[in-house]
């Protein structure tokens, strides 16, 4: 993620106070997190108070105010996935990555998040890596999936 890319995104929305969420979402997706200086730039360019940008960035779970890993792992802990062994899957993923939900590893490779129902109950328990859904996941297969990412 280059600084130029962030600047381009901010320039696209310059002077449009209503587009704070759009700008932040794009930066979040490109950069995986929102550094404070970037939020200051957003506030100045879009002509909204910094406190409002902060309010929005801290309100929605989409946005991260701390650095995230290159790959974002989501393990579903919702009811259906839980009944289908979601807890065992989570334990295995925690063991493989050495992370607890909400954490990022030191070389910023993986971030792990838990989610209560990620919307694919019919293929549960599921593991999502960077938006790609892996359904009917077993603890054994989880290792093979994670190996594909580095």
């Amino acid at each position: 993620m280059s600084e130029q890319q962030i600047t381009d995104i901010i320039e696209k929305y310059r002077g449009r106070p209503g587009a704070v969420i759009h700008a932040l979402t794009e930066i979040q997706h490109a950069n995986h997190w929102l550094p404070r200086e970037v939020m200051h730039e957003v506030a100045d360019a879009l002509e909204v108070p910094f406190s409002q940008v902060m309010q929005i960035a801290s309100f929605y779970k989409t946005f991260s105010l701390t650095p995230k890993g290159k790959h974002e792992l989501h393990v579903c802990t919702g009811m259906t996935c839980h009944l289908r062994g979601g807890a065992r899957l989570m334990a295995k993923v925690e063991e493989l990555t050495g992370l607890k939900p909400g954490e990022t590893d030191t070389d910023a490779k993986f971030s792990l998040e838990a989610g209560s129902c990620l919307g694919s109950c019919s293929i549960g328990p599921e593991l999502i890596v960077d938006g790609k859904h892996y359904g009917r996941m077993t603890p054994e297969r989880a290792a093979d999936v994670l190996k594909q990412y580095d």
Partner: protein
């Protein structure tokens, strides 16, 4: 058509009130001298509807409804009851819930006495902030400095001073301290000050020569505290 402002007549606690269309029930009640308790309302600020204490019973076209009076616009023939049994009960529970956060806030103590609320009904979770948003809205709307804002969401939501802005704007203002019902705005600010620009209070409030400063017996800065209720204030209902 004439440009005259449409006047609306409604009834509040049996009294007639005639006010311009678009007025809120709360304003109409205040005009004819009917008291409705509020916490998050401030005449200088936009209506917010956050604390729900100003809830009243309204009856129009035969239907009874419960609405927050600070946001509800008047209508012709509206019958408003500000102290029905159910209204009092709802207010009592709201006060009890807020007192789990700020058990000693003077305004809440007074309201608890009036409505017979039990301050110990809910387990204490001393956050001290009741989320009325007065400080945030005052800073945004009146001062337009945006130095304090809400952070996070749900149960974790809290007010927070933005150090970058607070460092330059708050020192000479501090007006939100006086409008905060619980004095939490002051606490939050002092915490920010202590973390973001430590020592400033000592330096800027007591400019003495270095020798005196080294003695480190500089008295605490006089600060404006929100007035506590007088000693004669009745004790809380148990």
């Amino acid at each position: 058509m004439n440009d005259a402002i449409v006047q609306i007549t409604l009834q509040i606690d049996g009294k007639e009130a005639t006010v311009p269309a678009g007025t809120t029930v709360l304003k109409a009640a205040q005009q004819i001298g009917v008291a409705i308790p509020t916490l998050c309302h401030h005449p200088k600020l936009e209506d917010y509807g956050g604390c729900r204490l100003c809830l009243v019973e309204v009856e129009s076209r035969g239907r009874t409804n419960y609405v927050v009076s600070c946001l509800y616009p008047v209508e012709n023939g509206l019958v408003v009851r500000t102290r029905s049994e159910k209204v009092d009960k709802v207010r009592r529970v709201i006060i009890e819930e807020l007192m789990a956060h700020a058990p000693d806030a003077p305004e809440l103590v007074r309201l608890a006495y009036e409505y017979g609320a039990d301050r110990n009904r809910f387990e204490k979770e001393a956050a001290f902030c009741v989320m009325c948003g007065l400080c945030v809205r005052y800073c945004d709307e009146v001062k337009q400095k945006h130095a304090v804002g809400f952070i996070d969401n749900g149960h974790a939501r809290e007010i927070s001073f933005i150090p970058e802005i607070a460092a330059t704007e708050c020192w000479s203002c501090q007006e939100c301290f006086a409008i905060c019902p619980t004095s939490y705005a002051q606490a939050a600010y002092l915490m920010t000050e202590a973390l973001a620009f430590p020592g400033r209070r000592k330096k800027e409030s007591a400019p003495r020569d270095a020798a005196v400063e080294r003695l480190a017996d500089i008295p605490a800065v006089p600060m404006t505290f929100v007035k506590r209720p007088p000693a004669s204030e009745p004790e809380l209902a148990k």
